[in-house]
Symmetry: C2
Subunit: 233 residues, 2 copies
């Protein structure tokens, strides 16, 4: 006999708020991010939420169900739609690259997700979970592939060329540093506030830093002669 679940709700109007359920979701995010799914305990989550441990089963069926909702909620709050939109625009490739970088970095500015999002994503690198992997894959693979095409357009190489991939990784690495280790970088450099203006500046820096090389690649600068010849293959 499975746990008594929350009924579909027929007698009461769909409640605009479900305070206990919301409090559980709020509390669960940071706990899962800190401790990972296995070591996160229902009791700790409920302690933080001010709820009874059975509430998890009532509202979410079980711990797994709570985790899934936390991920869903997190995906909904991810600030990367702007990258998608920027990639879809019609503009010179260099300009699109700048906009993509800006969109991403703006998602890390004043209105960035809470720190526990950073930690949750980092955890994915250490222990991929199916639920999390699906979420990240669904969100980030199209972006990755879009970037390959974009960088390829700028340097006039196919998207699957080694150089295109390496350049894409170089751009992504710069972005990911902030996306992944933002809070840590802020500790390392007290001047890093990740304000909206600062992230704007950083985005411009990353774009400029990257475009310096990408333009050389495109223009076949003398020091890149060997690459220039391999471009025809």
């Amino acid at each position: 006999m499975k746990t008594k679940a929350k009924p579909a709700g027929k007698r009461r109007p769909p409640a605009g708020s479900d305070p206990t359920r919301d409090k559980l979701l709020e509390a669960a995010g940071p706990v899962f991010a800190d401790r990972g799914y296995d070591a996160a305990t229902v009791r700790e989550i409920c302690r933080r939420a001010g709820a009874n441990v059975a509430a998890v089963n009532y509202h979410f069926r079980d711990k797994q169900g709570l985790y899934a909702q936390v991920l869903l909620r997190m995906a909904g709050e991810a600030r990367i739609e702007g990258m998608r939109a920027a990639l879809d625009q019609t503009a010179p490739p260099e300009e699109i690259l700048r906009r993509v970088i800006k969109a991403r970095m703006q998602g890390l500015g004043a209105n960035r997700p809470p720190d526990w999002h950073f930690r949750m994503v980092a955890r994915e690198f250490s222990r991929p979970t199916p639920a999390m992997s699906r979420m990240i894959d669904k969100v980030s693979r199209p972006l990755y592939e879009g970037m390959l095409i974009l960088i390829g357009q700028i340097i006039r190489l196919p998207a699957d060329n080694e150089k295109t991939r390496l350049c894409t990784y170089s751009v992504m690495g710069q972005i990911m540093l902030y996306a992944l280790a933002g809070p840590i970088l802020m500790k390392l450099w007290s001047g890093l506030k990740m304000t909206t203006e600062q992230m704007e500046r950083i985005a411009d820096h990353i774009a400029d830093f990257s475009l310096a090389y990408l333009r050389e690649m495109r223009d076949g600068q003398p020091q890149l002669e060997h690459v220039s010849s391999s471009r025809r293959s």
Copy 2:
């Protein structure tokens, strides 16, 4: 009455090998990396090592002691001494930068640490542990600061200038992508084998990618006029 610990050893000669202890350390690394300290269980580690659960207490006093030794061992196997050496060399700054990058990327090549090292480091971002933080700080802070000075020399700005920091982060981000997400990148791009030759090539790419911008900064290219004027302040 605390756990009966492994004696200092007086009657037997210092054993060249301590098979159970070694097996525990071998087994513990991946388990701690996969599950984190809290969720990693002594029983799982002992199951993998083919040892009795009390062996952890006997050889390492407790779970914490085992973890500490795993970290120590891991630090010993870190392949970043080459970066330190390269930073200390006397050569043109650009050449040193290339060598530093090469040294680091070579540490990720054919003889790179086992995958669980990557996972262990990633976990540090999601949940810093004092022991791990000390280890990483001791190892990486001097490198970080050395890089700031080096980049500053190349672009002729002070080490604590914002631009110097941003450039340093841009270089580090590119490196860290492979250092942190190497195994994941290999899944994403089947052509990435992380062989010694390939990592050599990637290192050269990162150096070239970065130096394109750094040279512009140093030479005060026309599109960077505003930066050119702020260099005097």
